[in-house]
């Protein structure tokens, strides 16, 4: 069973997305990247992101992650801030540590693509 199924699939994404988006919007290191005119559109993107890092069905490739973040001049500080928001969201939802580790592993696997290095 994948971690996505283990934590509850699409329902887990639904439970996590508001908490996660609230955290990134409140974090001054990264809020500017998420504070767009179209909050609903941004909310959808967060859902797609969470589905991906939870190991669920998604259409993202490393190349997509690379082009989506190109030209944003992102640094490790930004990446870490998102990773922290992710972990703290999972902790709020009392996801077992083993699953959290697995999810962080998926997030780390796209780190170079996100930072365009």
């Amino acid at each position: 069973m994948s971690v996505y199924e283990a934590i509850g699939g699409a329902a887990a994404v639904d439970a996590a997305v508001d908490i996660f988006y609230r955290k990134v919007l409140s974090d001054e290191r990264i809020s500017e990247f998420f504070d767009t005119v179209d909050m609903a559109e941004q909310h959808k993107k967060q859902k797609a992101f969470l589905t991906m890092v939870f190991g669920g069905p998604n259409a993202y490739t490393g190349k997509d992650m690379r082009s989506a973040h190109a030209g944003m001049n992102l640094t490790v500080v930004h990446f870490d801030a998102v990773a922290e928001a992710l972990v703290s969201t999972l902790e709020d939802l009392e996801v077992p540590q083993g699953h959290i580790n697995e999810i962080v592993g998926i997030a780390l696997s796209v780190k170079d693509d996100v930072l365009n290095v």
């Binding site: 997305v17 508001d18 988006y21 609230r22 919007l25 409140s26 005119v37 909050m39 909310h43």
Partner: protein
């Protein structure tokens, strides 16, 4: 350049070539094909067309319901296709003819228009009102479908507008007016009758919120309902008596006003709060589990939605209507 095949009927098709970047609506209008339209910004849905067997650009279906999308409806004013399309007129919303029953100038800025109930709707949805074949505007509904025998709108006057001055000075009781709709997802849903509700708007944003508040109260909503209305000046506020009366009948309703430009006396007596955002935070600090309805201009809706979300409201529980102001 790409081709649009406009299907008038099963055996009558007209071919129109679009120039680079041109919208389907513009292309059709420029070549003499009559397509109804209103706001030209993808809101009023007057220019809805249908295409069942061509690829539809995603941006031309923004804001449509899932079933509308599935049925191939799209907004021709926002549609810049990359390849040929076969399109036809939508008859999803037929124009209905209604009659003006009552018109009252409430303040020098706001008129109340009541027309006969020519179609079904939910309080808080909006309709398109037609002044002529090619001038239409959308207005939110303040009345209640089963408790009122009329459909009520609150019209804000824009002196240089092409529509609102006509409502103030042109149209009269007894006149016919064509209407179309309803549209919009901003209405009360009775499956959380004890949830707290925050209804906040600017100016005539009160119209849909008044409708939603009454709908909730008449449906037996027991949770606290906070109705917070903002205006730049005190003169911009209206309906204070009606709201007071509603509060008397329903203790769960609380109505507050916020005026951003107070004169010195008013500021000294603190009869109104200045800043609607901080006032909302004071009145209802925790929005976890609350339903939120926001109606007003884009900057207000955007800022208030962000604040409500950060104060705990779920994204899916924040409904909003952005009021457009048209360049004349």
């Amino acid at each position: 350049m790409c081709e649009i095949y406009f299907r008038r009927s099963d055996d009558q098709v007209e071919r129109v070539s679009l120039s680079q970047g041109e919208t389907v609506l513009n292309g059709l209008l420029n070549r003499g094909v009559e397509v109804p339209y209103g706001c030209l910004t993808g809101v009023c849905q007057s220019c809805l067309l249908r295409s069942t067997d061509s690829e539809i650009p995603e941006e031309s279906q923004k804001g449509l319901s899932a079933s509308q999308k599935k049925m191939g409806y799209f907004l021709s004013c926002c549609c810049r296709p990359k390849q040929a399309m076969i399109v036809s007129l939508s008859n999803l919303f037929k124009k209905e003819t209604s009659q003006v029953l009552e018109k009252e100038i409430l303040t020098d800025q706001v008129a109340r228009l009541r027309i006969s109930k020519a179609l079904c709707y939910r309080s808080g949805q909006f309709l398109t009102l037609w002044k002529s074949q090619d001038v239409a505007r959308t207005y939110s509904i303040a009345s209640h479908p089963s408790h009122d025998d009329f459909i009520e709108f609150h019209v804000r006057l824009y002196d240089n507008g092409v529509f609102s001055p006509w409502i103030f000075d042109g149209i009269n009781v007894g006149d016919e007016i064509e209407i179309q709709g309803p549209m919009g997802e901003c209405f009360y849903n009775a499956n959380g009758k004890d949830q707290p509700m925050l209804l906040s708007g600017i100016g005539t944003g009160l119209a849909p919120l008044y409708g939603i508040a009454r709908d909730a109260l008449l449906s037996g909503h027991t949770g606290r309902i906070l109705l917070l209305i903002g205006s730049r000046t005190k003169q911009g506020l209206y309906y204070e008596e009606e709201l007071k009366a509603l509060q008397r009948d329903y203790p769960q309703l609380e109505v507050k006003f916020s005026v951003s430009e107070l004169d010195r006396d008013e500021a000294a007596t603190k009869s109104h709060s200045r800043d609607i955002y901080s006032y909302a935070k004071v009145l209802m600090p925790d929005l976890a589990g609350a339903k939120v309805f926001l109606c007003g201009g884009e900057s207000f809706v955007r800022k208030m939605r962000r604040q409500c979300f950060l104060n705990g409201a779920n994204m899916d529980d924040i409904a909003s209507d952005i009021f457009l102001c048209f360049p004349s």
